[in-house]
Amino acid sequence: MAITTIRKRVLASAAAAVLALTVAACGSGGGGGSTTVDGKTTLVWNMWSGSTAEVDAWNHLSGMVTAKHPDLALEFQTSSFNDYWTKLAAQASGGDAGCILGVQSYRAPSISELLVPLDDMLTGAGIDAADFDPSIWQALQVDGQQLAVPYDFGPLIMFYNADRFREAGVPVPTTSWTVQDFLSAAQSLTTGGKHGFAAYPTIDSVIPWSLSLEDTTPLGPDGELDLTQEGFVKAVQWYADLVTKLGVAPQVVATSDATPALNSFIAGDAAMVVDGPWQLVNVMDQAQFEVGVAPIPAGPSGSHSQVAGSGFGISQTCPDPDKALAAIAVLTGPEGSSTSPSRGARSRPAPRSRKRGSARSSRARRKACRRRSRTGCPHRPPRTTPRSRSCSSSTAWKR
């Protein structure tokens, strides 16, 4: 009897131990993404990326942080852009987020609870707001508090397949091209099952066109979404006509692909596409043709675009915010970017002193900035904006 009892007890306690281990494994980690061994602090850096080329670029930068601060090392953790936000929220609710977090201007309000306000720390780390373009600097503020330091910033631009233009004998886009030029190029390039342009099936992709054609944002005067105002409706119709009436862009489909139009461009099926300069590193990496970049063609109200950008912030759970900010200063500073391996594609960082050599068209950007300051920024909707459910599925491209 005693033997069996003992055996039962052993079994029971073994089962309990296994169970306890399983449970513990679920809640393991913690620590806020920072470990210190032999005086060397390793900070976890959470960031999205879209390709190995991007990961290599970030890892190179992390090496530069260690070169500048030998007592600091960054552990780069990454996921795709869409998954990044889901993962970040999950990690944060478990108190397990990294120390340095990638923050996109559009998404800053939704994760503001996670981030440390940086205003009082910036001077100590040698970061000066005056070095950055004010529009992206402000885009990373929530309720007047600076939550992240920008590393890139850019308007949506037109990518074009220079080889296709040359073969068809169509003049390549210039910085002063017009919507008429765009339409006639798109029509000439739509032959043999290939198309001149690829459209994103999302409402936000109309914004550069509604600005240039109709001088309209999708926002009403009080900052609320107003998609049915006359100018915006016209622009949406014009955009849809590219597919349905003119046939210069392939039919759009509902898809789980985050960047269907860009992929169609990279595959050589569409000769032009509008996307952000942050995609340049991926386009250059994957496209088998010569890639050109132009501003949004000018419509009756000029050439305008929509601006988005990203930066790095520090999580509330980070035990070493000062060290994290020192690392961010390197990541977003002039040294970090001048040796950046991403060929200027990420237009990193945003400091004004480094405008030259960036991929974006300064004209388009200037206009976009002007536009932005006047209308109160279409790219950072206020918190009270109603959730635009139907478009939530595929807004990944607008980092």
Partner: protein
Amino acid sequence: MTVSAPAPPTTPVAEPGGSGHRRDGRAALGFLAPSTSGFLLFTLIPLVGSLVISFFAWPVLGRRRFVGLDNFVELLTDPIFHRVMLNTLVFVLVYVPLNVVVSLGLALWISPRIRGRGLYRLLFFIPTVTPMIANALVWRLLYQPGGPIDQGFQAVFGMPSPNFLGDNRWAMAAVILMSVWQGFGYNMLVFSAGLDAIPQSLHEAASIDGAGPLRRFWSVTLPMLSPSMFFAMIMTLITSFQVFVQPYALTAGGPGVATETMVLHLYREGFVQFDLGTASTIGWFLFMIIMLVTALQFLGQKRWVHYDD
């Protein structure tokens, strides 16, 4: 260590109240512990947890707030959620009968001792065991404008095919077709086994009585197969109410919300909008609907399911 000598055989049940039973109960508890703890940990506690969450405004980040039945009321008055429920219902009402017909048809086809029967069974089962995401990606290529289906249309009819994944009217049909292809293999195997279990003598007796093939199918095969069909129907109903991967991978719920199903909506509310309260509420709606439908099925089974005893 004391090893007690075996007790002398006694006359049964010396102690009143049956403490022997109680000892058995403890042992049974021990044996049940692994599966019970799993059930508690991963099913019951989360289930109760989600019920609690559904009464809160519960963002992943930020302050939680008790809101009573607000989440339920909000969903019931939300036109998008109405559409999502309608989508789910359409999916279930079209997919389940289609699945049963296709799988039963194929099972009947390979049920006689035809040559290469095992091979057919294997072939028909392959879609079920391949990862659904990979299937969906291939189907996306088939469906897209300029894809093989479109090219086939151009060649045969001289006109482009409908834009299956871009057209409100076709998107759900495209999702259902892909789901049937993906899902019929399992039920086919169930039916195939059920058909094999029908004694040949029944068919022979019916033939001798003069029953033709159609009559034998209606009066012998179907009644004998009804337990398998009941099982297949229940399982298919439950899984089709929970459909997620097909629309997620094929259309991401689009165009608009034309193919957004309840679980996809739940995922989006919970893990894209980070609104766990609403997501839990959707989960409970789904749970209640599935419970109700399954209960109705069990009540109705007396009328058509014949257990051969």
